[in-house]
């Protein structure tokens, strides 16, 4: 039911260039800011000194939609933008701690309401133009502009009010919050600083959403990330080149990155990625499924495989608990009566064989879960949570207590009946985009069959699935996965809060519908208000 998938990184040996790429993506555990010259405050990365030159080829599952960080919603666009842009403070995904990025240091006021950030001096965008506080001011003005519909807009609303930014001098900025923010400076991660000199005109003309299409000329686009745009060939590839003005160096003072070019090939799906990698067309493949990991490790030549450990991904089954409207069919109301019964849900949870899912779907490369926190989350995982073993007897007892009973169906199989004597039948929606989803659902289906429930699995294309779950709410149950982009629960606010748009089982509630949702809301508010630096 709940599952966590490990991420795998597998790299064809390219030694120097690859190591430096990994370094750029923020993997070293120790990073310290250091002044190199009075003019340019560069960040020196510890670790082995590499060689310059070379190109690294990777594959993307489909084309990115945009290079504009504000409107990018899909994972592919965000992956590409991630190497072209930089943020003020960065969360190191390996250590799950924050690191200085464009801001070399920051201070929080004692009441937790004011963050003072100091920018690195003398650093430049990839087109050679200098960065200063005005770029940051411009960036946050655009992020906060409701007309732009920035995907991360809601994260800048703290305590019901948008964050305000003011500039103290050319390199110092003060961010004012209405309420203390539990996650602290993690707030600034992922807000990429935009080049004001290139975008201000377009923004003032109200055409900001048209900026940064893939057809943009390389000279008309710039960022603060290690690579910059070189060439885009529709349907085939995106080529990025080394940003000569990048603000990180190695221990010997060589400016990073070492790689000259970074190439993304567009392929159809995960299997095509594996084929491209096996044929030697790509140098790196990451985030591959357990089966493909096995395939690749079986015939290993010319490449190394690394298990990067568990990620922040989790899979879960949820029932449709949305409020009934006037148009809700009677059958849905009948089913929701079961779903709202806590003991029914507990019985389902007790019957699901999580170990089998880990073994059969993930070939043992996953972990059974009893909560929504994946084991990859070192800061918030709680080992002490009860892990009741799978027990059909307990499930049956719970169902009996909730007024369910059994009889024999036409073919002699046992059928579960509700209090009104109607057989318990429902369907589980799942995404057909990934072969693992229908597989997990098929295992759950078989587990529940043993309780006498007749369950049907309906694999749907991801978009129509989301439409059903979030818009029309025409579904019984759904099996889905979520990825947190940060270990801090603040990142998942709109999943946890009953008013959240991704509170999947009953999204965007005006008031919490149940006592337990009200309790979660309260705890979320409490942890958000808790001021770590105070």
């Amino acid at each position: 039911m709940k599952n966590n998938k490990a991420h795998f990184l597998c790299a064809r040996m390219l030694l120097g260039p690859l190591l430096s790429l990994v370094a750029l993506l923020g993997h070293p555990t120790l990073v310290f800011p250091q002044q190199r010259s009075a003019k340019e405050e560069l960040l020196v990365l510890p670790g082995e000194v590499g060689r310059s030159g070379g190109r690294l080829v990777m594959s993307l599952r489909g084309e990115p939609k945009t290079l504009n960080p504000l409107i990018a919603a899909d994972a592919r666009s965000r992956e590409v933008i991630g190497v072209m842009q930089a943020d003020l403070v960065h969360i190191n995904r390996a250590t799950q701690l924050t690191e200085p990025s464009l801001a070399k240091s920051w201070k929080v006021s004692p009441n937790g309401l004011e963050y003072t950030l100091v920018l690195r001096q003398g650093i430049k965008f990839s087109d050679g133009q200098p960065l200063d506080a005005d770029d940051v001011l411009f960036t946050f003005r655009v992020y906060l502009d409701e007309k732009v519909h920035a995907t991360q807009h809601d994260f800048l609303i703290v305590g019901g009010k948008p964050i305000s930014v003011r500039k103290l001098d050319a390199y110092t900025l003060v961010f004012q919050l209405a309420k203390p923010y539990g996650a602290g400076e993690r707030l600034f991660d992922g807000f990429y600083i935009l080049p004001r000199h290139l975008l201000e005109k377009q923004y003032q003309q109200g055409k900001f959403d048209q900026a940064g299409t893939l057809a943009t000329a390389a000279s008309a686009w710039a960022g603060l990330g290690p690579f910059r745009l070189k060439e885009y060939v529709a349907g085939q590839r995106l080529v990025l080149e080394r940003n000569p003005y990048y603000w990180k160096t190695d221990l010997k003072g060589n400016r990073l990155p070492y790689l000259d070019d970074l190439v993304y090939l567009f392929v159809q799906n995960a299997d095509a990625q594996v084929l491209k990698f096996q044929s030697g067309e790509t140098d790196v493949i990451s985030q591959i499924g357990a089966e493909n990991f096995t395939v690749l490790s079986r015939q290993q030549y010319g490449y190394n495989m690394t298990d990067a450990g568990p990620g922040l991904e989790y899979y879960f089954l949820f029932f449709n608990l949305s409020e009934a409207g006037e148009k809700t069919p009677a059958e849905m109301l009948r089913k929701q009566k079961w779903f709202r019964e806590v003991k029914f849900r507990q019985a389902v949870s007790a019957a699901v064989d999580r170990e089998a899912i880990v073994r059969l779907v993930y070939q043992g490369r996953g972990a059974p879960l009893w909560g929504l926190v994946a084991p990859g989350n070192r800061r918030w995982g709680n080992e002490k949570l009860a892990h009741p073993a799978r027990s059909l007897e307990r499930a049956r007892t719970l169902l009996k207590e909730a007024g369910f009973s059994w009889n024999n169906g036409p073919n002699g199989e046992s059928r579960l009946l509700d209090a009104e004597g109607k057989p318990v039948e429902f369907s589980i929606l799942t995404s057909s985009s990934n072969a693992n989803y229908p597989k997990m659902a098929a295992l759950v289906q078989d587990d529940l069959r043993q309780l006498g429930m007749r369950v049907q699995v309906v694999p749907l294309e991801f978009r129509s699935l989301l439409d059903r779950v979030l818009q029309t709410k025409e579904f019984d149950a759904c099996l889905l996965g979520l990825v947190s982009f940060d270990a801090d629960p603040t990142a998942d606010t709109n999943v946890w809060l009953s008013s959240g748009g991704s509170h999947l089982w009953n999204p965007s509630q005006a008031h919490p519908a149940t006592a337990w949702e009200a309790e979660i809301d309260r705890l979320m508010e409490q942890q958000l208000d808790f001021c770590l630096p105070c």
Binding site: D271, V274, L275, G289, E291, N292, T294, V295, R298, D353, A356, R359, L360, Q363, G364, N411, G412, S427, L429, S432, A435, P438, K439, A442, L443, Q445, D446, Q456, V457, V458, P459, L460, R468, E474, F475, D476
Partner: protein, 351 residues
């Protein structure tokens, strides 16, 4: 005579194959949806005659397989205890021919499981799934072909016999049906249907869809036969004696289409079994966990399965004799038809 003999031979082959599928419950050792979660992707078991110590046994036996330590899909034989293959032993309950409750299975082993074709991702017996899946797929093919031929016969007969505007209208309709991109229409149709369709509903839906889509070609063939038949002397004579249209069609013209229809049936049935497989492969067919031949092959869509578990191809190999049987039958039917023609024309000249 030789033509007749090959015809009978193909018929016997098909009869035996279908008999096995019809009695799937008896010939399959296990329930097709039962998951053996300890043995996912288990390779086909070997039948041994000589054991690990080199002793020869008169009766075939198997060694049960267990997962190698720390591995997910690598198995090794447990050579401590041979499990002889037993025939006619009692096992999981099923209904023979759909109504007779029965527990007897053709083969199996005591205290062990025999997987002749290996298992799938959930540890379900591929051999049992193949036999039960055949029930779904072959029945879909047979019923679908029946519907198609019935529609084709009616439309073809009307168009050919009455001619005129009816002919033009029906034949243009047939051309339209031939030209439509069916697969996309099927996707659209699926989108309109309720979300969860029970396996039985899905099954009848498939039959209805397959059956109604393909009538155009047989209708054209029937029309051609009817066109030539209605100009025959004996038909004209019967009409001269005052026979009604219905009588003429029933008595003289439709019997002429019989051989065409039979040949068409023998070609259409395997085609429709394949169509069911395509639909199931694309997720439009019988939903899991119910087995069908298409479902059996759909796991091959994954690259990792394709390169790792060769026995997942075996169902495809086992389907070949069925298709071969039907195509052999079709060609011997054609041969028989030609032999009749020669016979009849030579008889005619003698008289």
């Amino acid at each position: 005579m030789r033509v007749r003999r090959t015809f009978t031979r193909w018929l016997v082959v098909l009869g035996v194959l279908h008999g096995i599928v019809v009695c799937a419950g008896f010939f399959a050792p296990y329930d097709p949806v039962e998951q053996d979660r300890k043995s996912p992707y288990l390779p086909p078991m070997r039948l041994h005659l000589a054991d690990a110590r080199g002793h020869f046994h008169l009766w075939p036996f198997v060694y049960s397989l267990r997962l190698r330590e720390g591995s997910f899909d690598q198995y090794e034989e447990d050579t401590n205890e041979p499990h002889p293959v037993k025939f006619f032993l009692s096992g999981a309950g099923y209904r023979l021919l759909g109504f007779l409750p029965c527990r007897m299975h053709f083969f199996g082993a005591e205290n062990a499981r025999i997987y002749l074709l290996g298992t799938d991702a959930y540890g379900r017996d591929q051999f049992s799934r193949f036999l039960f899946g055949g029930q779904v797929s072959l029945l879909a093919g047979l019923l679908g072909a029946g519907i198609t031929l019935l529609i084709g016969l009616c439309i073809g007969a009307v168009a050919g016999y009455y001619g005129g505007w009816r002919d033009s209208l029906l034949m243009r309709l047939a051309e339209l049906f031939l030209a439509l991109p069916w697969l996309y229409l099927l996707f659209a149709l699926r989108a309109f249907l309720p979300l969860a369709v029970s396996p039985l509903e899905a099954f009848f839906l498939i039959i209805a869809v397959i059956g109604t889509v393909g009538w155009a070609r047989p209708a054209r063939l029937v029309r051609g036969v009817v066109l030539s038949a209605k100009e025959r002397d004996f038909v004209r004579a019967a009409r001269g004696f005052g026979a009604s249209n219905g009588y003429l069609l029933r008595r003289h013209i439709l019997p002429e289409t019989c051989s065409v229809l039979l040949t068409q049936a023998a070609i259409l049935i395997p085609q429709y079994v394949l169509a069911e497989m395509t639909l199931s492969f694309l997720g439009l067919g019988v939903p899991e966990p119910a087995p069908s031949w298409g479902n059996l092959l759909s796991s091959l869509q994954q690259y990792s399965v394709l390169v790792s578990y060769w026995w997942m191809y075996l169902p495809a190999l086992f389907m070949v004799p069925f298709f071969l049987g039907y195509l052999g039958l079709a060609s011997s039917l054609q041969g028989r038809e030609e032999a009749y023609k020669i016979e009849r024309s030579s008889l005619g000249s003698l008289m």
